[in-house]
Symmetry: C2
């Protein structure tokens, strides 16, 4: 049962185990949809914009009427009237005619372009146009944003501010999204007490419960923190069994000793329809991850060491939360800050090393492409959460690399 | 009044105008503090951890007793007992003694290190130790996370998951933070109707109201969208006047025509204690930004063009929201994805160009440091929000650059 997998292989097995395990689809108001995962393609119900608009203050014209116009020989057009914002133009534009139009105004039928105010002059009931217009100049045409039937927002994308704007512009007020997965969180450990209690010698306050709840929230889940469970097989079994009624995902953190880890493994293995998929990942921190399911509900056994638990969340729980909402396990493009390592760093190889760093502005090395940003590793074991609190992010030393020299470029993921 | 500023200068003037304009300080529960801006340094109230702990299952020893131990000549120590999780050790460790200890167990007085279980053997009432320990081996010492009085979280930082964890571990349950700024949002324009209405010819549904509300929320503010106001000086004046009673920031979007822009400028200038600081920024999109204050409450006049309004928000409103919560105007390190431009691109120079792009995986160019990611510009004016909906992010062509060749590396900020 104790197979130590690579990070990639562990992620693959988790994702495979969740095939088809989507949360329920619910309908929510577009206004409240920021960050939510779209469950059904949104198709443009009509052309957007539905009418051609001017992007300038000026005169709506038929471009052909202005060909060859210049300062010395302006095109003289009949001023047919004034287009008002939010209103239909006063009739259509016949050859030889122009209408005054504000930015955002509706282009009249027959008109195809707008000449800027600065290049026109009203002379009596005529307009002198001093510049030629090409068709569509200074206009937004019907369907320039989206054509009727075009895919506007595909399912499997999470909603951004601009998406909310475009949905509003189409009159879409409600949206089908995947429910936020409910994540039941347990802390285990006989030494762990709630944050509001005063520790006696040998006791420490729970760190992981609140931090994992915050990560869950940040990752689109609904945290359901159920407190501290004794390191005891029967108690944990009972608590997890109850959780499974409501949970989409169960997180059990704690149990860093071999004995307590074994308890978590046995509990997961003995749940109804339960089984441990793997135990151990070749990474540091985060090696003692346990993953299993019970009736296809995923259960993660995270280390009691907070740094380890938090990295396991980022690398394994977050992708699971995404997949259950119909998203790709990883965002297609994850942003980073490139920095130069400010010291030599060794790594034993054979595992991925997640190095926590502080970033700072250094002096320019003179190397090509240098942005002056330096990364200073923060050393300390998986039990020291200060290594994450004091730092700005992390970079990865791959499995096949035994160390990096000072000055090496690394991609730092901000947390 | 119409001074077109550089982006940097416009940001500087906005930030300067907000000196000392912090929102109220409120006390909130640490559990609910994710993303909130800390208003008061958090100092470690005692050593963290408050006692030395083991990071391994093994035996607590005095390192000096194990010097020279080897497989052939183990150190033989008296087994004094068993340390239980969450409990005080059964007495102190005298020279020549060892105690069994689980991971996370409390190191007994007199002990300074732990030898792993694998390197020890219990023989009757003795422990044979086959490896020497150095002082502090396999332990976390008192104060290794934070020393008493050490700065844990400085004011001016926003709270992350790991910060919530460390606060919990210190028994800190409440936190002083700056209130979320209330952002009153108006859309103006005689052609604008609410998203739930059916547009008549010449009318369009409000895009900016909902998108700006979402950006506000994402940036830590509380959106207070007050709907659509007629493009009329008296109506707008009255609406803004009422808003100022409750607003920390006022956003007026709309008015892309010269006439309506003038209305916004006049309204801001004629408010009590009011004044327009500048009007126009040398960037595209986003040029027609108006900035002013009334009795030192910042008021932004954003373009009616949605792309323009959204970029103005990102570049100017978001820094203002940060500053009012005691944060630096910009995060110290903003992550990005480096990509190679997949086409030649010209830019007129003299302004910053914000180019919306789609990212995709290309084939490797063979160039050093190439990550295969390509950026394809999405062309279209500031009136076409589809340029942001279809894209992944943007990069900036600086003012002094007149274009970029295909293959050039650009930093894409994901949105």
């Amino acid at each position: 049962m104790l197979t130590v997998l690579t990070v990639r292989e562990a992620q693959r097995r988790i994702i495979n185990s969740l095939k088809g395990k989507l949360t329920e689809i619910e309908t929510i108001s577009v206004e409240k949809s920021l960050g939510r995962a779209v469950a059904k393609d949104v198709i443009a119900p009509y052309m957007l914009p539905p009418f051609a608009r001017s992007t300038m203050d000026g005169f709506a014209v038929r471009a052909a009427d202005t060909f060859g116009a210049s300062d010395s020989i302006p095109a003289l057009l009949k001023l047919k009237g004034n287009i008002l914002m939010g209103q239909e133009p006063p009739g259509s534009l016949e050859p030889g005619e122009a209408m005054e139009i504000p930015t955002g105004g509706m282009i009249p039928a027959g008109g195809d372009s707008v000449v800027m105010l600065e290049h026109c002059e009203i002379i009596g009931d005529q307009v002198a146009v001093y510049r030629p217009a090409a068709p569509f100049d200074n206009t937004i045409q019907v369907g320039d944003d989206f054509k009727k039937g075009e895919l506007v927002i595909p399912s499997g994308r999470s909603i951004r501010s601009q998406d909310i704007g475009i949905l509003s512009s189409m009159g879409v007020l409600q949206l089908k999204v995947y429910s936020r997965p409910r994540v039941v969180i347990f802390s285990t450990g006989d030494e762990i007490i709630p944050p509001w209690m005063e520790p006696k010698p040998g006791q420490i306050r729970d760190i992981n419960g609140s931090a994992l709840a915050a990560l869950t929230e940040e990752s689109g889940g609904i945290p359901d923190y159920r407190g501290i469970i004794k390191d005891d097989k029967i108690t944990l079994h009972q608590a997890v069994l109850e959780a499974l009624d409501e949970a989409d995902i169960v997180l059990i953190s704690g149990g860093s000793s071999v004995g307590t880890r074994d308890v978590a493994v046995k509990v997961i293995d003995e749940l109804p329809g339960g089984g441990v998929f793997f135990h151990g990942v070749s990474m540091k921190p985060g090696k003692p991850l346990i993953y299993g399911t019970s009736d296809s509900i995923p259960i993660f056994g995270l280390s009691g060491n907070p740094v380890s638990a938090l990295f396991s969340f980022l690398l394994f729980v977050r992708p699971a939360l995404r997949v259950m909402q119909g998203l790709s396990p990883f965002p297609p493009f994850v942003p980073y800050v490139e920095a130069r390592l400010d010291t030599n760093l060794s790594s034993p190889g054979g595992r991925e090393d997640y190095i926590r760093v502080s970033l700072y502005e250094g002096s320019n090395s003179g190397k090509e492409g240098d942005n002056n940003i330096r990364a200073r590793p923060i050393f300390g074991g998986a039990g020291l959460l200060s290594t994450m609190v004091k730092g700005d992010g992390y970079f990865i030393i791959p499995r096949d690399t035994e160390g990096l020299p000072e000055g090496e470029k690394v991609k730092v993921y901000i947390y």
